[in-house]
Symmetry: C2
C-alpha cells in the first residue's frame, strides 16, 4: 500500500501506464526519454483491444479494472496512455482514485490551443474520442475562439498494427481522412490516438509542412514530469543496476506484444506477463 | 432447463448463435433462409471483438461465458458462428456442454474437400484460425491427398466493418493477400471468416472465376438443419404471429450493432440488448 511507504520510497515507486494495447507504448517511450530515472509498470489490454469503437460504459469498466490491477503494483501515479480511455473514463477514475492520474488528451489540447496561429485546429482520433468532443471542450477552455475540426480515422489502428507504416494503402486511406481537414485550412493537427505517431511521416507528408503536428505522447510525458516535480514524487536516483525498471503486463498474447513493443521501444523489453484482467 | 421441457417444447426452443461481433450474422442469415421456422438467440461479443488476433486461452474463456449466457435462454443447440472460436474452443465446449454444439469450420472443410478437383485448396481466415491449422486437419481427414494453402487476412475484418465492401483499397489489399494463393494453383477457396462473404464479389473477382468459393455459413446452416432433423429437434411449426423469433444480444454498443445487422439481414432487427458478458 502506498500509505505505508515513506516519501523517499514513494518517489522510487513505478509509474503505472495503461492502454488498450500497444499504442500507449509511444507514451511510455516518451516517459523513458524525458524522465529516464523512472520505473514503469505498463498494462496493455490486448484481450479486449481496440477501445476506440466501444462505448463509454464498457471503456470505463475496463479502465477501472486496470487501475485496480496497477494499484497492486504500488504505482505512485497512473498515466492513461489511451485517448479513448482518457476521453471516456478519466473523470470517473480521478474521482475514485487516491493517487494522481493524468490522461493524454489535456496535454495535447493545451499545446494545440497555444501553437495555433489561425485558430483552426484539426483532431484525428478514434470514433469514440471524436464522438466525445473532449478535445473541443479542452481546447475551448484555453482558446475560446478556436475552431476544431474532428475526424475519426478508424482504419489507422489496424493499418499500424499490420505494420503498414510506409505503404501506398496507408497513403490512400490517409488522403481520404485528411482531405476535408486540409480543405478547412487548419494550421495545427493533433494526433489524438497513441497509434498515430507511428505513421507520423505519412500523416505529415499528406497534411503538408505548413501544418504543425501535435503528439500528445510528448506533451503528456512533459506534464507528467512537471506534476511529479511539483509533488516531490520525481525519482532523483538512477535505477539500481539489475533492477527491473520496465515491467510489461498484458491481458493476452504476451509474446506478440513483446515483439511489437521491441519494434517501438529501443530499450529491449525482456518479458511481458499475461494477467487475467477480468479478475480485478 | 432443457431437461424439464417436453420433446415438442424442445423443438420450439431457439437456436443459440454466437460470434465475436457482427460477422456471425452471415451465418444467422443462412439459418433464417434455410430453416425459416426456427427461432434464434444471437450473441455478438462487441465489447471484446475481434477474436482473430487473440490467444486460444482467451477465446476459450470468452466462449465459455457466452455458452453459459445462451443456456440461460434455454437454447436447444448452439452454433459457434465464428471461425476463430470454432478453431480454438469448439472441442472444449463440446466436452462441457449437454446440448449439441456445431462450429463453422467442419462444414466448410467438408465441402471444400469434396468439391476440389486438383486437390489444392486455399483457406483465407484470421491469424488465429490459420495458425491453428484446423482447416488443414479437417480437410485431410476427408481427403488425405489434399494440399492446403492458408493465408491470414487481418485487414479484411476492419475493412468490412468500415463498410469498404466495394472499394479500390479493399481490391488492393485482396490482391496482396490472394496473389500467392493464385500462384499456387488452387481450384477451391474457403472464406474461413464470417466477415468475408460480405466482400465475396471482391474476393471472387480477384481470385478468378475458375476457383470455387466455399462459404462455410451456407454449409453450416445445412449441417444444422440435418442435425436437428436427425435428433427430432427441427421446429415443424411456423412461429406464432407476433412472437419474438429473432433475439439479439451484444456485450457493447447495441445501437451500432443494430444498424450494421440491418444492413446484412433483411428481416428487420427490431432491437439488440446489451449484456455484461463478464458476469457469466
Amino acid at each position: 500500500m502506498n500509505q505505508e511507504l515513506k516519501p523517499a520510497d514513494i518517489s522510487r515507486a513505478p509509474i503505472g501506464v495503461f492502454d488498450s494495447g500497444v499504442g500507449g507504448l509511444t507514451v511510455a517511450r516518451e516517459i523513458m526519454r524525458q524522465i529516464p530515472n523512472e520505473s514503469i509498470c505498463y498494462f496493455g489490454d490486448t484481450a479486449r483491444v481496440p477501445y476506440g469503437s466501444k462505448s463509454k460504459e464498457t471503456v470505463t469498466r475496463f479502465s477501472r479494472q486496470i487501475v485496480r490491477f496497477l494499484k497492486t503494483h504500488q504505482v505512485k501515479t497512473i498515466v492513461v496512455a489511451c485517448n479513448t480511455a482518457s476521453a471516456y473514463a478519466l473523470d470517473e477514475l480521478e474521482k475514485e482514485t487516491d493517487i494522481p492520474i493524468i490522461g493524454v488528451v489535456k496535454p495535447g489540447a493545451k499545446v494545440a490551443a497555444e501553437v495555433t496561429k489561425n485558430g483552426k485546429i484539426g483532431v484525428i482520433a478514434t470514433e469514440a474520442t471524436i464522438g466525445s468532443q473532449i478535445y473541443t471542450q479542452y481546447i475551448r477552455e484555453i482558446n475560446s475562439n478556436a475552431t476544431i475540426y474532428g475526424k475519426a480515422c478508424p482504419l489507422f489502428v489496424p493499418l499500424v498494427e499490420e505494420g503498414l507504416w510506409q505503404d501506398p494503402v496507408t497513403d490512400e486511406i490517409a488522403r481520404r481522412y485528411l482531405t476535408e481537414l486540409i480543405d478547412s485550412g487548419i494550421d495545427t493537427l493533433i494526433m489524438g490516438c497513441t497509434h498515430y505517431p507511428l505513421i507520423r511521416s505519412t500523416i505529415g507528408r499528406i497534411i503538408g509542412s505548413d501544418v504543425t503536428l501535435v503528439n500528445p505522447a510528448y506533451e503528456t510525458a512533459l506534464e507528467l514530469k512537471n506534476m511529479l516535480k511539483e509533488r516531490g514524487l520525481l525519482n532523483e536516483e538512477p535505477p539500481k543496476l539489475g533492477s527491473n525498471q520496465y515491467q510489461f503486463y498484458v491481458s493476452d498474447a504476451a509474446e506478440k506484444f513483446k515483439q511489437f513493443a521491441n519494434s517501438i521501444i529501443k530499450y529491449g523489453i525482456l518479458s511481458a506477463k499475461t494477467v487475467n484482467i477480468e479478475d480485478y
